[in-house]
């Protein structure tokens, strides 16, 4: 434990009566001759002082202490780090894998699960861990490569949503009045459009559908909830006495927002953003499954699941591996969100 206890006696207080008599035996008497208790023994040996200053250094380190002790945090952290490495450096998962007969990315139809003569019928084996898909592509390689679009879209969309929330949510909550009315009504209207439905409409009229287009569309429909959370945090924090105190000192609006309101209001947003990454990854998969996500020849888990749908009974591995990858990733982010909330925002539970 990094708890610190201050054991140096405080210099604050006068045991003024105690100063004079240091001998325990020396007694005073009341005017009518009754005995009074002895003055405080100046040489008292005690491990505690009247004033104690205790606890963790800061709220962040206090939170980190709680987080460290939570096994679910470590489980989700491992998952998230593994998935981010997979997205950034897929080679880290492929260099030791010898099952893919076509590491250059071109697939051989003879390996397709539709071909009865394919190795092991295209199903998972000790050489081809995840089997082959209909085009004869190695499923392990595809699953690893597919992480990039899913994870990137989740992070890109969340980053944009957080930035929008930080700027407009803070301004809206801090200044109130017309700006706030305008922004909150706008989000109300936006809330009425379901993300997936809006995504389908917007994406189906787009010419090209790459990662950035999908990320753009999900940002367009996903930003309001984050903004509303940020705004309500700012509104409740700006009424706190410490903000009032700084305001009465003459602090500028910028100082109040940056030094006082944001640091104290941001934790629920961080927690929500973590969970938001998970739900955006799911949304991307849903759009791909519905055929309006990233277009072929891109590789994404949603797309793989979509392609698996015609062969689910004959070749369940086509669904299983990308499905599991997706589920584990989303699970990782959701659990991380919960762990962060327990540690940094216990009130929000």
């Amino acid at each position: 434990m990094s708890d610190t206890t201050d054991t140096t006696p405080s210099t604050t207080f006068d045991h003024d009566t105690a100063r004079e008599g240091s001998h325990a035996a020396e007694r005073d008497f009341t005017p009518d001759g009754r005995p009074l208790p002895p003055k405080r023994d100046e040489n008292l040996v005690s491990s505690v002082s009247a004033e104690q200053v205790t606890g963790e250094a800061s709220l962040w380190s206090e939170g980190w202490r709680v987080l460290r002790r939570n096994p679910m945090f470590w489980v989700s952290a491992v998952i998230i780090v593994a998935m981010i490495i997979m997205a950034l450096f897929p080679q880290a998962y492929l260099w030791f894998y010898n099952g893919d007969p076509n590491p250059d990315g071109v697939c051989t139809l003879s390996n397709s699960v539709n071909n009865p003569n394919a190795p092991n019928g295209g199903r998972p084996s000790t050489t081809n861990w995840f089997g082959f898909d209909i085009q004869g592509c190695d499923m392990y390689t595809k699953t690893i490569i597919g992480a990039r679009i899913s994870v990137f879209i989740g992070i890109i969309v969340t980053t944009f949503a957080v930035v929008i929330a930080l700027i407009f949510g803070t301004l809206s909550g801090y200044y109130g009045k017309f700006l706030d009315t305008f922004i909150t009504r706008l989000t109300d209207i936006w809330f009425a459009i379901p993300t997936i439905l809006g995504g389908i409409v917007l994406l189906s009229v787009m010419g090209t559908r790459g990662m950035w287009q999908v990320a753009f569309v999900l940002t367009v429909f996903g930003w309001p909830s984050m903004l509303r959370l940020m705004r309500s945090q700012v509104i409740s924090t700006k009424e706190e006495d410490f903000v009032m105190a700084s305001r009465s000192l003459g602090a500028s609006n910028m100082r109040l927002m940056v030094r006082h309101i944001l640091p104290n209001g941001i934790t629920p947003v961080i927690v929500y953003a973590t969970i938001f990454i998970g739900s955006i990854i799911t949304a991307e998969a849903a759009l791909s499954f519905l055929g309006v996500g990233v277009a072929l020849p891109a590789v994404s888990w949603g797309l793989m699941i979509s392609q698996a749908q015609t062969r689910i009974l004959q070749a369940p591995h086509l669904l299983f591996f990308p499905g599991m990858a997706l589920a584990i990733t989303v699970f990782g982010f959701l659990v991380m969100g919960d762990a962060l909330r327990d540690a940094f925002d216990p009130k929000g539970r």
Binding site: D241, S246, H260, N264
Partner: protein, 375 residues
Amino acid sequence: MSDAGEKELHLGGGEAESELRVDLDSREPVLDVRNLVKHFPLTQGILFKKTIGHVQAVDDVSFKLFPGETLGLVGESGSGKSTVARTLLRLHEPTAGEAFYRGRDLFKLSHSEMRAVRRDIQMIFQDPYASLNPRMTVGDIVAEPWRIHTGIVGKNEQRGRVAELLELVGLNPDHINRFPHQFSGGQRQRIGVARALAVNPSVIVADEPVSALDVSVQAQVVNLLEDIQNEFGIAYLFIAHDLSVVRHIADRVAVMYLGRMIEVGEEDPIYERPVHPYTQALLSAAPIADPRRRQESDRILLEGDLPSPSDPPSGCRFRTRCWLFNQMAEEDGDESRIGKCLTDDPRLEDRGFDHPSACHYPAERQIIETVEAPA
């Protein structure tokens, strides 16, 4: 230290009263509040807000604060005492009125002019848990005034000055890098005092500074505030609901009820010879911490609750709960005397006693028997 503390006035009736007035007027007030009004609009509607009424939080309140003195502002919840404080510091914009600080009307200052004046008028808050930013160290909190008002204390000297201030308020200067939640309630309130002292203010507005603290710790903070006043001659506007604490610390006392100031005067007259029926009831309801002095028999019990400040009673605002009003209504059976209470709004003015009050029928009444403290 100014002459505020030295006054020993035990004045009775009319002739001595003019003497008191001369005495008060001969001093230059550091803060002169005139006819302060703060109404909060009650709104309805989503997109286009419509005002459907006003909460009359503070209505026509005037008072003066003299250098080095403590003016106690007492009242129950809903009396508007905290709104007075916050409006003075322009944490709320006033609806009407003037507040002169060294000859300048605070309410007419531009934001940048006000910023400069804020150095001189500091505030201490009620809740020592809420009034310190939990993400900042004690050093940063106490030094914040210098980051806002640059040029008072140079960057390099700040740490040393913070340590001095912490020592002044009775905290260990080694704790400069600690965070507020590591301290106890009383220690946190000391941090708040240190922050207020950082810019050498001439006025401190203390909004219930000790009411969140335990009795044993409360006395530490009260003593600290007294010591600081003696050392630096700071004037306090001390807002509290605890009449005992106010009696202990205040030189003058102002009593508020439903947004109005209803009686104001030196500490002794208010506590020993109150003339307003509300002040009398308030004093009578306050428990006395001595079982031998239980005052069960002659306690004035107020009936009912505070009326809504958005729709205050006509005439005298206190009449709906006034024991004197009820007594007169019973005695007369008509409106001969109480008619005035129903229609005329009593102003806070001289009514032939040693201090002003806002009642049509003021009468001295001794509620508590004061004893001198044993040496």
